[in-house]
């Protein structure tokens, strides 16, 4: 196997004297989809922001392509790694096309001049995600699912090799969750994108991701295939709930849900 795109080792991070990440190591390679799981407040968002270099780890190291994340120039980094936050912002008056164009910010020349190439990328991505008809519409008119797709498109316009998403499913219904997951999977498999996404839906993540990482109070409680991580014992302990597991015939990954009896 080639060297991983991202290699993070022994990360520790605290907000003041409140430790959030105690000891987290993880890797991310091109072409794989990794889901970050765990209860609220367990450090998923913090971990993502440490990986992006927005927060500085108290201890440990984040290497992107063998270079420390804080040593990357911001613009160069933005051409390699895109980030979709939990609640992305947009001016309601802004048109979809304008939002997508800001994805080219890391490539703009002086005075924010766009090249023909920048314009072409925007329309390519819009076509790929079926957003062409939405381009002239203001953001205020879009549904939650459409909005999320626009923000995903803005990330892709950056032409990244890695995409970090913080709970992209928060405002999506089931169909749009599956749709988004499948799109991400296709991008990973067809274009070699590395995808790391925080999620709350254990089963959906199990079905769509190549690998799961389960965080528990700032440490990795379990990591690996869905079969290995979605273990009632492990998950039950992390969430403080009795869990049951169901193996579906003809399906590799198991289903898991709280035992409410």
């Amino acid at each position: 196997m080639t060297a991983p795109l991202l290699e993070a080792t022994n990360l520790q991070f605290a907000y003041g004297d409140r430790p959030v990440l105690r000891d987290v190591s993880l890797t991310l390679a091109r072409g794989e989809v990794v889901a970050l799981l765990g209860p609220n407040g367990t450090g998923k968002s913090t971990l993502i922001r440490v990986l992006l270099g927005h927060l500085r780890a108290d201890r440990g190291q984040v290497l992107w392509e063998n270079r420390d994340v804080r040593a990357w120039p911001r613009r160069a980094f933005a051409r390699r790694v895109a980030y979709l936050p939990q609640s992305p912002t947009a001016d309601p008056d802004q048109r979809v096309a304008d939002v997508l164009r800001t994805g080219r910010a890391p490539y703009w020349g002086a005075f924010g001049l766009e090249s023909a190439h920048d314009v072409a990328i925007v329309s390519d991505v819009a076509r790929q995600l079926d957003l062409i008809e939405l381009l002239p519409r203001p953001m205020a008119e879009l549904s939650g699912g459409q909005r999320q797709l626009v923000f995903l498109a803005r990330c892709l316009v950056q032409q990244p090799v890695a995409l970090l998403l913080d709970e992209p499913n928060t405002f999506l219904d089931l169909r749009h969750q599956v749709d988004l997951g499948q799109r991400l999977r296709r991008l990973a498999k067809e274009q070699g994108l590395a995808v790391l996404m925080a999620s709350h839906d254990l089963n959906l993540a199990g079905a769509l991701a190549d690998r799961l990482i389960l965080l528990d109070a700032g440490v990795v409680a379990a990591e690996g295939s869905a079969d290995r991580v979605l273990d009632p014992q492990v998950v039950g302990k992390v969430y403080g709930l009795p869990m049951r597991r169901l193996d579906v015939p003809g399906q590799v990954q198991p289903l898991i849900w709280p035992d409410l009896r």
């Binding site: 927005h54 911001r74 160069a76 609640s87 001016d91 910010a105 924010g112 205020a140």
Partner: protein, 333 residues
């Protein structure tokens, strides 16, 4: 982007030429006597150019303030620039009256106003920043407080000096107008500040599109958001200070022009900045011509500063904008 720049320039040029038809006494038309014309025209050109300079700076600074402070109600005076200028202008006036020394007067009210504006915005940035980081909401709060303190100090000084009350004319420092007593040097200084500042802002315009986003998002798009906030606010404030120094505070231009420009060219800062600049220049030149006309002996019998007019017209106009905007957003839930 280039097209917007050219069209904006043409629109301004057209309006500015029209404004030159209004004389300082409110008389409309160009005098037929060539001797009078030779005397009057350079003077009119100067007035229209100064009004344009002030309006352009306010329009451009308004765009940048609104983007960086992420607030559609922000204007270039929000962080204390104008109240600081007014306060030090008054101090200068008190000093000038008391000492009657020529050297004190020679420093000039304009220099004091500029110093006051920079001092005021400096204090706001100093209080609002934490470890070099500035955050829009804190900035606005500190700006409002500093403005209030400046206003109170202004009144305190005013009432402590009865000779000011008797003399009147002190309100010029509160409501601006296009002054005609400027030296060439002052004019060129202001024009230089505005010109250089504008080019810097235009250079940042692309990145300013990202400024209204969340901090993490902007960083993820490769924009150093803290650096952008500092650069944008400092440059816009210096521009504002240099025109407030020569004109005093003229309300609503910096608030209304960015909104008006947004209606015409959309929200892309690279087009918004030139459009709002030209609109500011054109509208203030127009408002100044209108106030000269209205100040005619037969109408108001007094010299009305243009700041009064922009306030009177700008307020209702802005309400109209707000109202329309609300109707539109209510129609699309």
């Amino acid at each position: 982007m280039l097209a917007t720049l050219v069209i904006a320039l043409l629109v301004w040029a057209a309006v500015a030429s029209a404004c030159m038809l209004v004389g300082s006494t409110g008389h409309i038309g160009i005098p037929s006597d060539p001797n009078i014309r030779r005397f009057v025209l350079p003077y009119r050109i100067e007035i229209v150019l100064i009004a344009s300079l002030v309006g352009a700076a306010l329009g451009a600074a308004g765009v940048v303030y609104q983007a960086i402070l992420r607030n559609p109600l922000a204007d270039p005076y929000l962080l204390g620039v104008s109240s600081g200028a007014s306060l030090l202008s008054l101090l200068w006036y008190v000093g000038a009256l008391a000492t009657i020394s020529v050297s004190f007067q020679a420093i000039g009210q304009q220099a004091f106003a500029f110093a006051g504006a920079m001092l005021s915005i400096g204090i706001v940035l100093l209080i609002a920043s934490r470890r070099g980081r500035i955050e829009p909401v804190t900035l606005i709060l500190v700006g409002v407080i500093v403005n209030a303190v400046n206003g109170s100090l202004y009144l305190l000084i005013y009432f402590r000096h009865p000779e000011l009350v008797a003399r009147g004319g002190v309100f010029t420092f509160l409501v601006g107008g296009i002054q005609t007593n400027l030296t060439r040097q002052q004019e060129w200084l202001a024009a230089g500040c505005v010109g250089v500042g504008w080019i810097l802002l235009f250079y940042l315009a692309g990145q300013l599109n990202v400024a209204p986003l969340g901090e993490a998002e902007a960083e993820a798009l490769g924009v150093r958001i803290q650096r952008l906030r500092w650069a944008g606010l400092v440059v816009a404030s210096v521009m504002t200070a240099s025109v407030v120094a020569i004109s005093g505070p003229i309300g609503f231009v910096g608030l209304v022009c960015p909104h008006l420009a947004r209606l015409i060219v959309g929200s892309d800062q690279r087009r918004l900045l030139p459009a709002a600049t030209a609109l500011g220049a054109a509208l203030l030149a127009l408002a100044d011509a209108a106030s000269r006309y209205l100040s005619r002996e037969s109408l108001l019998h007094t010299q009305m500063p243009v700041g009064v007019l922009t306030g009177l017209l700008g307020g209702p106009f802005f309400l109209l904008l707000l109202w329309q905007n609300r109707r539109r957003t209510e129609a699309t839930p």
